[in-house]
């Protein structure tokens, strides 16, 4: 490997990494730790009244399923404490959410034999794509609470997908459903130059990384 370029005069402020070896170990390459919860989105914040909100699983399933807000909230939920990394460079440790695992949601349907991908879709026409293998076995959940409070619209409420092992754009805000597919289909940011998979530990920020 070529010698690394060194920036003249730069020493850095290591305290920004949280000061502990544990925090440093949990911060992916090129990220910095924050204690805020920055808001990033491409357009206006959609607001769907809860009495019109539904969550649907469709596509390559034997029978699509749709939950009302009440029914969705009655699904078996749990607390999740996870580290989140955004492609805009911030990482926040120990974020506490409450929601239902994608595993539990998929128990409500029978997947087709060729099911291999999910496309999460949201109010505001946002989409993001993930291989099924990235969202099963406790790797992804749909949250409606953050830090003990109802998830605010700016942060994706009423409900957002959370996929901690991927950059945060994969954690679709304002989620309304999952479409199961047999082939991959780039979502909103994935079609605009961002990486198709988005693994923050491999620093897969942009297409070709």
């Amino acid at each position: 490997m070529a010698d690394r370029f060194v920036t003249r005069g730069f020493t850095g402020r290591r305290d920004r990494a949280g000061g502990t070896a544990d925090a440093a170990r949990r911060t992916p390459p090129g990220q910095y730790l924050t204690t805020d919860f920055p808001v990033l989105s491409a357009g206006p914040t959609p607001r769907t009244p809860l009495d019109r909100w539904t969550f649907t699983i469709e596509g390559l399933v034997r029978e699509p399923v749709t939950w009302s807000w009440e029914a969705f909230r009655a699904l078996p939920a749990r607390d999740w404490i996870v580290d989140i990394s955004c492609v805009t460079k911030w990482t926040k440790l120990d974020m506490r959410w409450r929601g239902v695992s994608v595993d539990t949601l998929l128990e409500g349907v029978e997947l087709g034999d060729r099911a291999a991908f999910v496309i999460a879709w949201s109010d505001g026409d946002y989409t993001t794509n993930l291989p099924l293998s990235d969202v099963l076995n406790g790797q992804a959940f749909v949250a409606w609470e953050y830090d003990g409070r109802r998830l605010s619209p700016e942060h994706g409420g009423p409900a957002r997908l959370v996929v901690p092992a991927r950059y945060f754009w994969k954690s679709a805000k304002w989620i309304r459903g999952l479409r199961i597919a047999d082939r991959d289909e780039p979502g909103f940011w994935e079609s605009l130059g961002y990486h198709n998979r988005g693994d923050q530990w491999l620093e897969e920020r942009y297409g070709g990384d």
Binding site: R4, T7, F10, R16, Y32, G43, P44, G208
Partner: protein, 248 residues
């Protein structure tokens, strides 16, 4: 297979004070592939022991400017990168960067029709790239453009003289300022945080057919984006870019 966006070594070719806490850095970048107004770059700083940090910064310059890419950076008191850029970097220094990045918050003069921009503080930077591009592209003056720009104090208005110049060029650009903290004697602009009434008044002469771009702190972006949708702009014509308090 897409090829990666390469890291390049840029040389600092110029440093200019914009306001007491904001500087512009002119970067000479070898083999720069060109950019679209609104896009950003990633900077990477590396210490001798290998410790390194990355940050994203919006490009301030128009694509027509050959050879130099301008970044405009606000100094954040507890920031790790912005303080280094402000306090340490000198002309002739080299900085690693890659880009351009981002394909949604972009505007080209080829997109005909009115343009409506809302900025808060250093959120002006990607919008300035659009306005500089617009001036260079000599757009049809009948395609109205408006900028509503919120700053705290008069001396913190980034690009103030240049914006004044662009607004008097007679090519259909109107600039409205609002100051949220202190107003100088005889201030003729708005004197409060951006609200729906201010947005309605400034959107009106530009027209509801406008494409809107909003960049600034989260609270400003939320207010402006929600209000513009209520005022009748379709959500897909309202594009936003936000930075939180921990953004830089």
């Amino acid at each position: 297979m897409t090829s990666p966006i390469a890291w390049r070594l840029a040389t600092i070719a110029g440093i200019r004070d914009e306001t007491p806490s904001v500087k512009s850095f002119g970067l000479a970048i070898p083999d720069w592939p060109g950019h679209r107004p609104g896009q950003h770059v990633d900077l990477r700083l590396t210490a001798a022991d290998g410790y390194s940090v990355e940050r994203s910064y919006s490009i301030a310059s128009e694509p027509e400017r050959a050879g130099i890419v301008d970044l405009t950076v606000e100094r954040i008191e507890d920031g790790e990168v912005s303080t280094f850029l402000h306090d340490v970097v000198e002309i002739g220094d080299r900085i690693e960067l890659r880009g351009p990045i981002g394909g949604y918050f972009v505007w080209d003069a080829a997109a005909s029709g009115p343009l409506y921009l809302v900025a808060g503080g250093s959120g002006i930077v990607p919008l300035m790239a659009m306005l500089r591009h617009r001036a260079r592209a000599a757009v049809d003056g009948r395609a109205r453009t408006g900028l509503l720009f919120s700053s705290r104090h008069a001396e913190e208005i980034i690009y103030r003289a240049e914006l004044d110049g662009l607004a008097t060029a007679g090519d259909g650009l109107t600039v409205w300022h609002t100051l949220t903290r202190l107003r100088p004697e005889g201030w003729a602009g708005y004197d409060r945080r951006i609200d729906e009434r201010m947005l309605a008044e400034t959107l009106e002469p530009v027209g509801i057919e406008a494409r809107a771009f909003i960049c600034g702190p989260t609270a400003l972006v939320e207010t402006a984006a929600n209000a513009l949708v209520r005022l009748g702009l379709p959500p897909d014509r309202v594009r936003t870019e936000r930075f939180g308090p921990g953004g830089t």
